[in-house]
């Protein structure tokens, strides 16, 4: 039997001993994994370069300033190209993503067993490959230029837009669908009057959101030859023209901030 002193000595603990041990074991495994990965990763690292890095950073920093502002006129055309890659790429993606989304959503798919898995596979494949890798492929296939960038952005965006859109479709209010169907509407009319109006705000929001991301990504697509600002960045890096690199970085930063501001404004107006 427990005496009063025993009870008084019991202090509050968040977990039982067994749980605490399991937690420690989990942390231990995590640390072990980290150390192991660190060892493997740094096997080929040349530490002399790493210890030398602050000096290198200072050196590059001193080369980057002052920025070469006269370079800006030469950047206006690539900037226009970058905006076009992002915008046209997003539009192209929408055309392909909408049917994929309707095929992937449980409540609108023609067949859960055959069509839905295909649509989901398209979404996963498109999402797991970065637009820069798509661009790498497309530059090899259709040649360097803006076109490769547009298609790369489009292929990457399909998965993103379709995934968010099909989740929105699955969350619609079925009562409205039923109400429209009860008036004797055909399947197409049910789509048009019951499903589409419910997902339109989400659709517009997703589009603007993706457009914003695409602006970011299209600024660097030129690194692999797909046109836009990245092309000038690659050229300037190749000739070690650091003052020009600074100007490009600043321009990219401004573009990204403006597109983020626009997208936030538009999404705020819609939702």
């Amino acid at each position: 039997m427990m005496t009063m002193t025993d009870l008084a000595h019991r202090t509050w603990r968040r977990r039982s001993t067994r749980k605490e041990l399991a937690l420690w074991l989990g942390w231990l495994l995590l640390v072990a994994l980290f150390v192991f990965c660190w060892q493997v990763m740094t096997e080929s690292t040349i530490w002399a370069f790493v210890t030398d890095a602050p000096r290198q950073a200072a050196d590059i920093g001193s080369r980057m300033f002052p920025p070469r502002w006269e370079y800006i006129p030469a950047l206006l055309e690539p900037l226009w190209d970058t905006l076009n890659i992002a915008t046209l790429g997003t539009l192209l993606a929408l055309f392909m993503a909408v049917p994929v989304a309707f095929m992937a959503a449980r409540n609108t798919t023609p067949s859960t067993r055959f069509v839905r898995p295909v649509a989901l596979l398209i979404i996963v494949a498109s999402r797991s490959i970065n637009s820069l890798i798509w661009a790498l492929l497309l530059v090899a296939v259709i040649g360097p230029g803006v076109m490769a960038g547009i298609v790369a952005i489009a292929l990457r965006s399909i998965g993103f837009v379709a995934k968010l859109l099909y989740e929105a479709i699955e969350e619609i209010d079925e009562a409205q669908v039923e109400a429209v169907a009860a008036t004797g509407a055909s399947k197409a009319q049910v789509m048009d009057y019951a499903v589409v109006p419910q997902i339109l705000p989400a659709f517009a929001g997703i589009t603007v959101f993706r457009w914003d991301i695409n602006i970011r990504e299209s600024t660097v697509l030129g690194l692999v030859g797909a046109g836009g600002l990245g092309l000038r960045l690659q050229e300037s890096l190749n000739v070690l023209a650091w003052p020009q690199v600074t100007v490009i970085f600043i321009l990219i930063l401004i573009t990204v901030l403006v597109s983020e501001w626009v997208s936030a404004k538009v999404r705020h107006a819609i939702i």
Binding site: V40, T42, S44, L136, M147, T219, V220, V224, L237, I252
Partner: protein
């Protein structure tokens, strides 16, 4: 008998949907502007159709490569690239999470004083506004080629992502619990440890796993500028027109991303 007022055109009162944008002048200005932009943009895209036509053969070879991927002839390189990518993502996620926890706490307005809040928010904004690939270029220039530069890049990107979401999470906590712990006379550390940490921990674990997934995907890209990992292998394969090896790498990336997504979904369900 019909009502005298309801004859002629007023007899049929159709219903039309309200337009998406209500103000007519804004609607037409947006439509017109959009159309004008589209025409200008499409006109400025130069396409060399001869080159595209020639490239179709390559495209076909690439699709063939996808159907019959070649895992064997470059297996050593692929293995090394994957090893670098995976270890890089794990270490970068761990270090990034460790650094982003204090910054995330500092960037939460409800527990951090204003000066610290401003500094931490500035760090988050800095980390978020630069693309991984641009950061990678700079780090490669400073630290030399290889996975170490990639590790630094991914850690840097992780900080912005995780600290921002963690800060928003802390700002959204249930204040009643913090109040209750505070009422027992707890200090700032004890409030963080007993009132805030238990509330945000499940989401922090979920976000870390999600970031691990993103870091792996990014590690496939930053190799293109020399930061090690599978991206370097992929870039080389593409440069050498070895499309079947490139396809093998892409398939591996997709499979690992799918596995990671599935696994992290499972762990997140288990944690919550």
């Amino acid at each position: 008998m019909t009502d005298a007022g309801m004859t002629g055109a007023t007899d049929y009162r159709g219903w039309t949907r309200p337009p998406f944008i209500k103000r007519p002048w804004l609607r037409w200005a947006l439509y017109g502007g959009g159309l004008l932009y589209l025409v200008l943009a499409v006109a400025s895209v130069e396409v060399n159709w001869v080159r595209v036509w020639e490239g179709l053969e390559r495209g076909q070879r690439f699709i063939e490569g996808f159907l019959v991927p070649d895992f064997t002839s470059r297996w050593e390189d692929i293995l090394q690239g994957m090893e670098e990518s995976l270890t890089m993502s794990v270490t970068a996620t761990v270090v990034g999470v460790l650094i982003s926890i204090p910054i995330g706490i500092g960037a939460a307005r409800n527990i951090a004083p204003l000066p610290i809040y401003a500094v931490c928010r500035a760090i988050v904004a800095l980390s978020r506004s630069f693309q991984e690939i641009i950061v990678a270029i700079l780090f490669v220039a400073m630290f030399g080629f290889g996975p170490f530069a990639g590790f630094l890049t991914l850690s840097f990107a992780t900080i912005g992502f995780l600290a921002k979401l963690l800060a928003e999470d802390i700002e959204d906590i249930d204040e009643a619990q913090a109040e209750a712990v505070r009422a027992t006379g707890a200090g700032w550390w004890q409030i963080v440890n007993y009132a805030i940490q238990p509330q945000v921990m499940p989401r922090l674990i979920g976000l870390s796993l999600y970031r691990l997934d993103i870091n792996f995907r990014e590690s496939a890209v930053i190799g293109i500028v020399g930061a090690g990992g599978i991206g370097a292998t992929l870039n080389t394969a593409m440069d050498r027109y070895e499309y079947d090896s490139a396809a093998a790498i892409l398939i591996l990336i997709i499979l690992i991303v799918m596995a990671a997504e599935y696994l992290s979904g499972y762990v997140r369900k288990w944690v919550q």
